[in-house]
C-alpha cells in the first residue's frame, strides 16, 4: 500500500515538475504583445514610504507604452505588497513566478526581504534585477548569477571614504564604528578592501547592536585610541547620537557618515545642525533641492515626467529620482534585448550594460555592468555638511567594485 502511494506521489511530483522544465526553455511572461514584469514593495507597514518607488516605475512603464513599448510589446508591471516582511516576500515572489508566470523580477525592496528569495530565484533561474537595497551581497555573480543590485553598495561607499582618507591623510589612524550585522559589516569589508595589509595597523574598530540604548561607550573607546578619522556605518538614531557625542567630548576627527543616515530632518536636526559641521558623506544622485540643478536638462526631463505621469507626487521626495534612475536602467536593458525576451537573454543584457549617464544621477556617475562585476553604480561624489545643507566637493570617486 505504502509503496504504491509513494509511487503515485513520485509520479505526480514528476508530472508537476515536467511543465516547469518545459517552461524554462520557452520565454515565460512574454507574449507577442506583452512583457510581464513582477515586483514586491512595502506598500504597507513601517517601510511604506518606499512605496512611491513602485509608483514611479509604474509611471515610467506607462510612458514607455505610450511611446510604443519595447520590441513591439507593451510592458505590464505587477507589484505585490510584502509589508517589508520576509515570509510574505517569499510568498508573493512565488506567486509572481509560479502563478502569474512573470518574465522576471525587478526592483524588489529591502535587504531582509530580498534575502528571503535570494536562493529561490537563483535556483529557478529567474532574473532578479536592480534591487532596491544597498547590501553588498547582490554583487556576487559567481554564486548568485541571477541577482543584481543597482545603487552603490555600502561596501563601495566605505571603499570611497577610505580612498579619500588615504589621499588626504596617508598616515591616518582610522576609527571604524559599525553595526554588528550585514549592513554594518559591509563597511568593515569596504575599509579592508582598500587597506589590505595595512588594515591591522591603521584601523581600530568598535561595534554596536541595533538594540543598544546608546553608543557613548564606543565613542569614548575609539577616541581614547588617538584616532583622527572616524567612519560610521550605523542607523539614523545612532548617527544622531554619534554626531552629538563626538562634538560634545571635544573630539574633532575627520568624520564620515553612511549616506543612509544623513537626512536633514531625521539625523542632522536631532543631533544639532551646528554639531555636524564638517561631517562628510556621499551621494550618486542629483539632489532636487540643490539650486545647481534648477535648470539641468536631466532634472527637467524628470520634472516633466513627474508633471505628466505623477502630478500629485511630492517633488521633494528623492525616492522619485531614485526610481527614475533605476527605471531608466531597466528600460535600457529591455531595449538591448532586441526581440528576444527570454530569461537567459534578459540576464545576459543586464550583465552587459555599457557605461552610460542617467538624467537623475550626478555627472560622471555611470551605470554599467560586466559579467564579472555586478556593481551597477560604483562611483559617488563626497559632500560636506556646512551647518545648513550638504555641499558637494571634489571629483567623482570610484570604489574598487570587487
Amino acid at each position: 500500500m505504502t509503496t504504491t502511494r509513494r509511487l503515485l506521489l513520485a509520479g505526480s511530483a514528476g508530472a508537476l515538475a515536467a511543465p516547469r522544465i518545459a517552461a524554462a526553455q520557452e520565454s515565460p511572461g512574454v507574449t507577442a504583445t506583452e512583457i510581464h514584469i513582477g515586483s514586491t514593495n512595502a506598500l504597507s507597514g513601517p517601510a511604506s514610504s518606499y512605496s512611491v518607488i513602485s509608483r514611479c516605475l509604474e509611471g515610467m512603464f506607462r510612458r514607455l507604452n505610450d511611446e510604443g513599448g519595447v520590441g513591439g510589446r507593451r510592458v505590464r508591471f505587477t507589484v505585490y505588497d510584502d509589508g517589508y516582511q520576509p515570509p510574505r516576500t517569499l510568498e508573493q515572489t512565488r506567486r509572481l513566478v509560479e502563478r502569474d508566470r512573470v518574465a522576471f523580477l525587478f526592483n524588489q525592496l529591502g535587504t531582509p526581504t530580498n534575502n528571503a528569495v535570494h536562493r529561490y530565484v537563483n535556483q529557478r533561474r529567474v532574473p532578479h534585477l536592480f534591487l532596491a537595497t544597498g547590501a553588498d551581497k547582490w554583487a556576487n555573480p559567481r554564486e548568485f548569477p541571477y541577482t543584481m543590485g543597482w545603487q552603490p553598495s555600502y561596501r563601495v561607499e566605505a571603499q570611497i571614504y577610505t580612498k579619500h582618507v588615504l589621499e588626504q591623510r596617508p598616515n591616518a589612524k582610522i576609527a571604524l564604528l559599525y553595526q554588528n550585522d550585514d549592513f554594518g559589516r559591509d563597511y568593515l569589508h569596504g575599509v579592508q578592501d582598500v587597506l589590505g595589509d595595512r588594515f591591522r595597523s591603521m584601523v581600530v574598530t568598535a561595534t554596536n547592536e541595533a538594540t543598544d540604548p546608546t553608543i557613548d561607550s564606543q565613542i569614548v573607546q575609539l577616541q581614547a585610541t588617538g584616532a583622527d578619522v572616524l567612519i560610521c556605518g550605523v542607523i539614523p538614531r545612532f548617527a544622531a547620537q554619534a554626531i552629538r557625542r563626538v562634538h560634545d567630548i571635544g573630539w574633532r576627527p575627520m568624520m564620515f557618515m553612511t549616506n543612509v543616515s544623513v537626512s536633514v530632518g531625521v539625523v542632522m536636526q536631532p543631533a544639532g545642525v551646528e554639531k555636524g559641521v564638517g561631517l562628510i558623506t556621499s551621494d550618486y544622485r542629483k539632489d532636487q533641492s540643490d539650486s545647481a540643478w534648477a535648470n539641468d536638462p536631466g532634472m527637467n526631463e524628470w520634472r516633466q515626467f513627474m508633471q505628466r505621469y505623477i502630478p500629485d507626487g511630492d517633488l521633494g521626495d528623492n525616492n522619485y529620482t531614485y526610481g527614475y534612475g533605476v527605471g531608466a536602467t531597466m528600460i535600457q536593458v529591455l531595449r538591448q534585448c532586441g526581440n528576444d525576451f527570454s530569461r537567459e537573454n534578459v540576464m545576459n543584457q543586464a550583465r552587459n550594460i555599457r557605461p552610460m549617464q542617467l538624467a537623475t544621477l550626478l555627472p560622471g556617475v555611470m551605470v554599467q555592468s560586466q559579467p564579472d562585476n555586478y556593481n551597477v553604480i560604483r562611483q559617488m561624489q563626497l559632500q560636506r555638511w556646512n551647518g545648513a545643507s550638504w555641499e558637494r566637493f571634489g571629483q567623482v570617486i570610484e570604489g574598487a567594485g570587487s
Binding site: 554588528n180 538594540t211 538614531r237
Partner: protein
Amino acid sequence: MDAFLLQLAAGIATGGIYASVALAIVMIYQATHHVNFAQGEMATLSTFIALTFIQAGFPYWVAFGATLAVSFVMGALVERLIMRPVQHAPILTHVGVYIGMLLIIGNLTGWVFGYTTKVFPSPFEGGGPMFGGLLSAHQLGSVGVTLAVLVLVYLFFTKTSLGLAMRAAAYNPRSARLVGIRVDVMLALGWGLAAAIGSVAGMMVAPIVFLDPNMMLGILLYAFAGALLGGIDNPPGAVVGGFLVGVLENLAGAYIVGTELKLSVALVIIIGVLVLKPSGLFGRVVFSRV
C-alpha cells in the same frame, strides 16, 4: 586612566537610564507581584503623549504633569479592562497577555505617531557638556529626577497607610481583604503608579536616545537585569542595580569582552543572579511555609 574614568562616566550616564526603568519594573512588581513586559512600550507611548502636549504649546512641566496624569489613568485602565478578566488565570496567561500588550501598544504607537526618530526636549538644557562632555546637564538632571522618584516611592510605601495597604494587597490578597483593604482598587492604583513612573523614565530617557516607537526595546532588558541585580522587590536596590549594570556593561565592553558581547553581559547578569542569588544583592529572602 583617563579613558577609564571616561568609560566610568559613560557607564553612570547609561546606568541612570536603566535605573529609572528598573524602578518602574520594581514598582509594578511591588503592586502585583508580576513583571510587566509591556512596561517599556507603555512608557514610550506616554513619552509620545508628552511630546504631543509640548508641541501643542504647553510649558514643559505642565506637559510633564499632564503626562503623569494621563499615564496613571492609562495604567489603571489596563488593569481594569485587560488584567482584571484574567486575574485568576495561570501565570502563563499573564505572560501571554503582557507580550500581546507589548506588540499591540508598540505597533499602535508607530501607527499613530510614525516610525521616524524625533527630538524630545529636556528641561535641563543650557548647562552645556560637563566632565569632558560625558555627562550633559540633562543626564545629571535625570539622575536627580530618578533619585527624587525613588525617595517618593520609598516614602509612599513605608510611611503612608495607602502604601502599606498596597503592599499588603500584593503580598497576601486574601488576608488584606479580610482586614478591609479593597484589593481590586489597590491593584488598579499600583498599575497606575507604575505607568506614571514609567512615563517619567520615558521622558528622561528620550532626550538622550531620541524618541521612536522602539526606544525602550533594548533598554528594558538592561533595566530588567538591573532590577534583578538589586532585588526585584527593593526600589533602592533596583536603582543601584541599574547603575551597576550600566557601569559593568561599559567596562566589560571596553576592557574584557569587546563591544560585540556587551549585550551578553546583561544576559549573564540575569542568569548569574537567578542562579546564585535569586533575591538579588539587596532583596529580602522570602520563605514560604506551606
